[in-house]
């Protein structure tokens, strides 16, 4: 039972800005959840409350049934790993290897296990060539990869990503894709803060949309992303695939089987297959 529960949670910063109010949310073990919303909606505040970095000023946040206030902070960060948006806020060592060592240093496990964790993450993220390089001499994508490795090597039970797709090229996406797939296989809880609706559509099962510190919508990704009222109220960009389907319907395309299948498809890959099949049928 690795669930995270928010009970009527509110949070006010020291400058009296209310970031969250009356948040009630239940995240079950193994869920792949996205948190979306316009800038300043309270997304980052919400995730920082999960591992006790911020304590609620109202209500309670529970992990495994225990409030984050009662949890030993160092143990909670071990269980819930947050990968921050900007890798430059994390990196300080002279080499990438030292960065990994620092992340593993505070884990309460044996030396051998630490060495094993390090080797595993080096292989998983293909960090061999970067190990002796200064993080400051790495490219933006490489730095993001290093900051990702610094959290993943600690093997947290819950993985939280803050804007993981920001500034990522194709290879960065591939790494992220790999991490999420493996985590899904392990039935690990994944929480992603993102503005990227394309990413959300492909990877996330459930979306929570925040607006002005309150929950505007909570439901399956497909339902949330096709709801135009939510789009307007939360500045979300509609995924290309939905735009494409909408245009198809609006343009009153001929009433034939292929177009019916296309409208019912769930991704561009499916559309591609439908077209390929129909082309095959035509050529036959």
């Amino acid at each position: 039972m690795r669930n995270i529960r928010f009970e009527n949670v509110g949070f006010q910063y020291s400058n009296e800005f209310t970031a969250l109010s009356n948040i009630s949310l239940n995240i079950q073990n193994g869920e792949v959840l996205g948190i979306m919303g316009r800038n300043g909606a309270g997304k980052s505040t919400l995730i920082q409350m999960m591992n006790g970095l911020l304590k609620p000023t109202e209500g309670n946040v529970f992990f495994d049934g225990i409030t984050t206030n009662d949890y030993d902070a160092s143990k909670l960060v071990q269980k819930i790993g947050i990968v921050f948006q900007n890798p430059e806020h994390q990196l300080f060592s002279s080499t990438v290897e030292e960065e990994l060592n620092f992340s593993l240093k505070n884990l309460q496990i044996s030396k051998d296990l630490k060495a094993q964790y390090k080797d595993e993450i080096i292989k998983e993220l293909n960090l061999q060539s970067l190990l002796h390089k200064s993080p400051w001499n790495c490219s933006g994508g490489e730095r993001k990869k290093v900051s990702l490795a610094c959290i993943l090597c600690r093997k947290p039970e819950v993985l939280v990503f803050d804007e993981p797709t920001l500034g990522q090229d194709k290879s960065g996406y591939k790494i992220l894709d790999n991490i999420i797939h493996k985590a899904k296989e392990r039935k690990q809880t994944i929480i992603v803060v993102t503005h990227n609706t394309e990413f959300a559509y492909h990877y996330l099962d459930r979306l929570v949309v925040l607006d002005n510190g309150r929950i505007l919508a909570d439901g399956p990704t497909g339902e949330i992303l096709t709801n135009s009222t939510i789009h307007e109220n939360s500045s979300l960009i509609e995924p290309q695939f939905f735009k494409f389907k909408k245009k198809m319907i609006e343009n009153n395309l001929p009433d034939n089987e292929v177009f019916k299948l296309i409208v019912q498809a769930k991704s561009f890959n499916e559309v591609e297959k439908i077209i390929q099949n129909s082309m095959g049928e035509i050529s036959q």
Partner: protein
């Protein structure tokens, strides 16, 4: 040192009596209070100035934030009192308390200035005092980044805590060492930001025109002049007290110290 101390320098946008004052008035206020704090080390003077500053803080409605920033100084205060008492058992405690009071007063005076003065107004005020605009701008820009730095310290702290960094644990050496993961990204990012800001200013032709006009010019009002007069009287009284202090019996209270 807790980073809460930095909140003392964070501008808060409000409309009240202290916020509306000209930045030059508030700067003069800081200078007068600093001068008096340096001139005297006696409790009574520091307590009078503390009372004065509390009135300003109440007028500016910034009690909570000042308490927070003073709380952030707890570590420094402990060290001042501890080391003074340790190295000078006869006078150390008094000296430690006096130094603490001085420090608290200084932080409070600067808090009033920075929390109630908009950086743009500060630039204008400095420029009106005869300083060239680029220098005045650089000066206020440096202060404008204090809240940004404070935010960055908070974010870096959270990011490093997520990696298992434990602050304020272990001995003194351990605690100092645990600050490295915070200070290195902070300094590196600050240097980078300085370059970006310089490039951004150049990209927008900063400094191409020698004379500038202001959309909202700052000016001295009646309240500013009245406060100037009050501060001058306070400063004069301080100077008189300092000069005649040894000769006048009425100033005996100045030499009061905690009996040990």
């Amino acid at each position: 040192m807790s980073m809460e101390l930095l909140s003392a320098f964070d501008f808060i946008d409000r409309d009240d009596f202290v916020h509306r004052l000209d930045p030059r008035t508030k700067l003069f206020l800081v200078i007068v209070y600093l001068t008096l704090l340096i001139m005297f080390r006696q409790y009574i003077v520091h307590l009078i100035l503390l009372g004065n500053l509390i009135i300003w803080i109440l007028l500016a409605r910034m009690v909570k934030r000042v308490i927070k920033s003073i709380r952030g100084m707890a570590f420094i205060i402990f060290f001042i009192i501890f080391f003074n008492t340790l190295f000078s058992p006869s006078k150390g405690l008094n000296l430690g308390i006096q130094m603490t009071l001085r420090l608290v007063n200084i932080i409070m005076a600067f808090s009033i200035f920075f929390q109630t003065t908009h950086p743009d107004d500060l630039t204008q005020a400095i420029a009106k005092m005869g300083v060239s605009y680029p220098i005045a701008f650089s000066f206020s820009l440096a202060f404008r980044f204090i809240p940004t730095l404070a935010n960055e310290v908070e974010t870096i702290t959270k990011a490093q805590k997520s990696r298992g960094l434990v602050l304020q644990k272990g001995g003194l050496f351990q605690q100092i060492r645990s600050l490295f993961p915070l200070l290195i990204p902070l300094i590196t990012n600050s240097i980078k930001r300085a370059f970006y800001v310089a490039e951004s200013l150049e990209a927008r032709s900063f400094g191409i025109q020698k004379t500038r006009t202001q959309l909202h010019p700052v000016r001295l009002r009646f309240a500013d002049w009245a406060i100037f007069v009050f501060l001058l009287v306070l400063l004069a009284a301080g100077i008189v007290a300092k000069i005649y202090q040894p000769q006048l019996e009425v100033f005996a209270i100045f030499t009061f110290e905690i009996p040990l």
